[in-house]
Amino acid sequence: MMEIGLSHYLILTTILFSIGLVGVMRRKNLLMLFFATEILLNSVNIGFAAISYYIGDFTGQMFAFFIIAIAASEVAVGLGLLIVWFKRTGNIDLDSMISMKG
């Protein structure tokens, strides 16, 4: 049986992060964008937790909790805005949200 070490966690983190990144770049649906963001955040969480465990310092795990808290509040605010937006325009397509042009 293969021992699961730090590198496995980090590989997992990287894979998740990449998935999230691609999702952030490619998804046009705002809801899906939120999901992708969550994946990004959680991939980082895994990384923090794993590293923290392996070097025996709990700061990382503490940080992960912070991130979870922030992600939760972010989703709460974000979903609220999303619902308002959907009520007003009837869709949540990113390409239609271009009122903030540079």
């Binding site: 046009k28 964008l33 009122s99």
Partner: protein, 636 residues
Amino acid sequence: MEMLLYTALFSPLVGSLFAALFSTSKKTLIAGVIPSALLFLSFISSAILLTHVLNGETVQVEMMTWMATGNLYIPFGFAVDQVSVTMMMVVTIVSTVVHVYAIGYMDHDAGFNRFFAWLSAFVFSMLILVMSDNFAGLFIGWEGVGLCSWGLIGFWFHKEVATWAANEAFIMNRIADLAMLIGIFLVYWNTGTLQYTEAFAAMPYLDHSIVVMMGVFLFIGAMGKSAQFPLHTWLADAMEGPTPVSALIHAATMVTAGVYLVVRANPMYDLIPEVGIFIASLGAFVAMFAATMALVNRDMKRIIAYSTLSQLGYMFVAAGLGAYWVALFHLMAHAFFKALLFLGAGNVMHAMDDELDPFKMGGLKKSMKWTWIMMTLASVALAGIYPLAGFFSKDLILEVAFVEHHYILYTVLLLTAGLTAFYSFRLVALIFHGEERHLEHGFHPHEAYKFMLWFMAPLGVLAVIAGMVFKSPYFEMVTQLLPRTEYHIHNPVVFWIMTIGTQVFVIAAIAYAYSKYKNAKIDKKTEEGFFYQVLFNQYYIPQFYEEFFVKPYRELSSILWKQVDMKIVDASVDGIANIFYKTGVNTRGMSSGNLSTNLKWMVVGLVILLALAVVFAVIVQNGDAVISVLHDLGAI
């Protein structure tokens, strides 16, 4: 003494400022009379100073500091010595006469007051030029006379030709002035001073080549003012100015400033005889060259202008050969008779409603008896017939050339003497003798005002006696300062052959001119000939300058502005600015407002930053190696 000096110097300035007060108002006689009276005062003071100088007393004053910085110290210093007092007398006599003459000549001109402001300002500048005891003061006067000459040539500023000629004269003089300035710099950096006496005293200890440079540069300056080839074209064009101006500035005084400079710098030119030879050769060349142009010209004033040019050539021959006092003597004599000639020409112009072509005149001696007499006297003096002024001064130059064994120069000058006689009497014959051709053209000539004639009379007297009476006292006086060289041909046979031969030659030339032009027959065949055309077109030199200097300068200027400055220099600046601007325009798509696009760019930025972090880490790890590479490049 000092008081006299200041009176002589500053009364023309006062006169000029006085007339300038009225310069924009209507003609007032007082604006002409007061400056004339003040000039007369200046003349009296100069005359008293002359008596002092004759007794061997010279004056030198330092009025105040002009510039002082570093080791440089330039005062306003003035000196009245044997040379400058000669010039002062010439300037004040001629200018007093010309001022009074101009009261009559400019009688009906709207710019009467302005004219006297300029004219007196000119005299003031000229006096500064000749009285200054240092090179800087000389330069003040030098530029001042140039300025006044500009204002007076272009006096009738509504005429395009006049203003063009004024600018031409100014710019051409400026070219020479640059050389003069360089000469002054050379003097300063090598002798440490600009005072004549100290600078000349230091020169024998300098490197020969440096003195040669000084001599050459200062002489180029002199060439501009004295209109020597190749800077001569402005003088003929300057005849667009009023005739009193031509008499005063472009015959008697300003154009002789170059000769004065060479005479003044005689201790320097004595050190560099090779430059002297060059000056003499150029002088002889110009004498001949100008005389040939005078032969065929059909403009009365231009003929006299070329004659002036030719006589300046004579003066330079004398000065170049070291006969400084002879040069100065001819300068003086020439000033008298040439001013007279010009003033006579002015009378003729007035009588003929500003017609200048002598072929349209003829027979004027009936209606203009006095003008005829005076112009004939002046011409005889110019031709050098015994016992008038020209004989003593001009023939002396021939003797100088002969005694100094410069036989080529001698021959050229002798031939030129014949030419001089010819063109002078061609003019006299055409204007005053023969049939009254002007009647066909509807002119009604009349003699000038009486007072104008009366004031021309002193010049007439001087033209007659200046040579005979003044020669020996002048020699005694001026050679206290200038090298005392007498030029005698020791063999009496040679002397008499030469003197009589020259006289006969000149008289023959006069007779030929009379017989040929008494009836003003225009010889068509000669006129179409090659030589006539070349001479008539002034050897095509003005055209050459226009074609090869003026036009290219104008076109090049235009190209530099429109092509280089706008399309290269400025465009490259705008180009750099445009790079930033275009970058902005092209990248504004990044912030299109589309969240998806923004996120993509965010990722790109992330990648770049990560890459930089890696590079930085590498540099930090191999720090020493990188620093040494940079050090080799000289960056640190």
